[in-house]
Symmetry: C2
Subunit: 329 residues, 2 copies
């Protein structure tokens, strides 16, 4: 892949043909897609089925990103590789033996928990982060073995540190920012970023205004300044892109993301009562095709071609190579 | 009910006709039965269906204990009232709106979590007790409203304290002992027992050797000495009986209770690697009918008739009266 070709560590929402056409136009040739937030096993299978149909129906512009090689092939052919991921572990429904089956069905990235504490780990939004629970340790071991990348984006910082320590393979924070650059519950403390750096993990710098702040959501140079400052903390081999961009989201989708079925009340997720709705995208990121300006933005803040390539796709490819493989143990 | 008539705050296992016949012979006229440990919504409905068949097929000796009045009626008629309970909240499958539906189907007691941390609370067996999570607070509010008694027996001590504080109605620890009398992760610290006392909650003193210890599992006087010492801590209005007796359990049942589907490894629950199998029952409690010696055992350690009646059934009936009712709010 060339330095101008991008892998996005996380997008979500209702993808359609336009999504792939626009991603391709932006030079995005790999993207981790969110197949579920709260859904249990059967609902997650439904989602996987819809994703298979979608990719098949658009096979001239889209492909499955089951391996790093498949992503590189898609890029060479001008296609967009969808890497199947879930932002929660409810697809397992507490069953350790389902982890390898989901891997065999093509799932490559699973977040230990979403906005609420669960049987695996604590969430960034709970009053207390429980740390990694016993089932969470088991699931990480099984994901390591089965070839699923552990994602700790919405996971609490303590649980994330413990997941990094527990995992035999490097892990990802697919979409978050450095808490020291923009303070938010969803963002990661420097000790988490240092632990990613020290273990070969990767953080995808987000471009979601609620967790990026207005300054870094200004012109592309500002956002790339955030990337550079994240590299100062986590190192050039552990920083990539994870925009958290959503496709065709409407109010019921935000309600589902935030409230799911767990509350009769209102939850704002990364938003707030003062700014409850859809956050406006960063100034530089009005449409999906604007992602094409990222590589030059990175150059403008001083990154070399080699560094640009690591950030735009190389670090993700390296991590996928280390984690998307089934081990014998 | 007379002082010699007993309500047992928790039993589990595969009940059959003999179970009811023997409970009746022992003077046990109310018992919270465990309809599930790890089962999700559909499996929990299956279990509820089997329980309905069992009660219907044995309606000469068994009845449903949906209300305190129904339990008293059963006692007057010489029947055993089954109070439907679950030792985990998986029957809700994370859906807050299912709480009231389960209440309408007759469920009266639900433990927030069993041996593992979940979306509601921390467990006594995790390295860290998370405290009560956001969904746990929601579920307690909904159980209060729908008429389901909150059970914190396997819940961690911190989560239990927070559940007591969060609940508008008193809660139960249906089957556990005082940690200060026999130290075990499953047992409750004195601050929990004091909080139960101060809020009208009730602890059912257990007769499961692994959490009772050998001394208090000796002759009935020893076990009743434990009851008396628990009363010294929690007060006469907050102590009752919750034997944790199991019916027709075999090795696969213990494997299911302890490992469910969450681990590929071995978990011992309240047992240990040194004593992994079924714990021998207390010396005084070789058969179910031995429960008939409890009232005289309580008298032998100095309890008055009024006190015996509170411990054998009165405290449970009072608590059920306060919690088994649907509120308008």
């Amino acid at each position: 892949m060339t330095p101008d070709q991008i892998i996005d560590g996380l997008q979500c929402g209702h993808f359609d043909r336009d999504s792939f056409v626009n991603l391709k136009a932006a030079g995005v040739h790999g993207v981790v897609v969110t197949c579920g937030f709260w859904e249990g096993t059967l609902e997650s299978l439904d989602s996987l089925g819809r994703w298979r149909d979608l990719i098949r129906e658009n096979s001239d512009v889209a492909a499955f990103g089951y391996t790093p090689e498949a992503i590189e092939t898609a890029a060479a052919e001008g296609k967009v590789a969808a890497i199947l991921g879930y932002q929660n572990s409810n697809l397992f429904e507490g069953r350790i033996r389902l982890v390898e089956m989901w891997a065999e069905l093509g799932v490559r990235v699973v977040q230990l928990t979403y906005n609420n504490q669960n049987e695996l780990a604590g969430s960034c939004y709970e009053a207390e982060d429980s740390g990694l629970a016993r089932y969470g340790r088991e699931v990480i071991r099984e994901m390591n073995r089965a070839g699923i990348l552990v994602d700790c984006s919405h996971v609490g910082n303590l649980s994330t540190l413990q997941a990094i320590a527990a995992s035999e393979k490097p892990i990802a924070v697919t979409h978050a920012n450095a808490d020291s650059l923009f303070a938010h519950k969803r963002n990661k403390t420097d000790d988490v970023l240092h632990a990613l750096r020290d273990t070969g993990g990767v953080i995808g710098v987000a471009a979601y205004r609620n967790i990026t702040g207005d300054y870094f959501s200004g012109p592309i140079e500002n956002w790339c300044e955030m990337v550079a400052k994240t590299v100062d903390i986590a190192g050039i081999d552990s920083v990539a892109i994870g925009t958290d961009r959503s496709h065709n989201f409407t109010a019921p989708d935000y309600a589902w993301m935030r409230m799911g079925r767990w509350t009769r009340g209102v939850d704002y997720g990364a938003a707030s009562a003062a700014r409850p709705g859809k956050a406006p995208p960063p100034d530089w990121f009005q449409s999906l095709t604007d992602m094409q300006i990222i590589p030059n933005g990175l150059r403008s803040v001083g990154f070399s071609e080699e560094e640009v390539a690591k950030i735009t796709h190389g670090n993700w490819l390296r991590l996928y190579g280390e984690t998307f493989r089934k081990s014998n143990s």
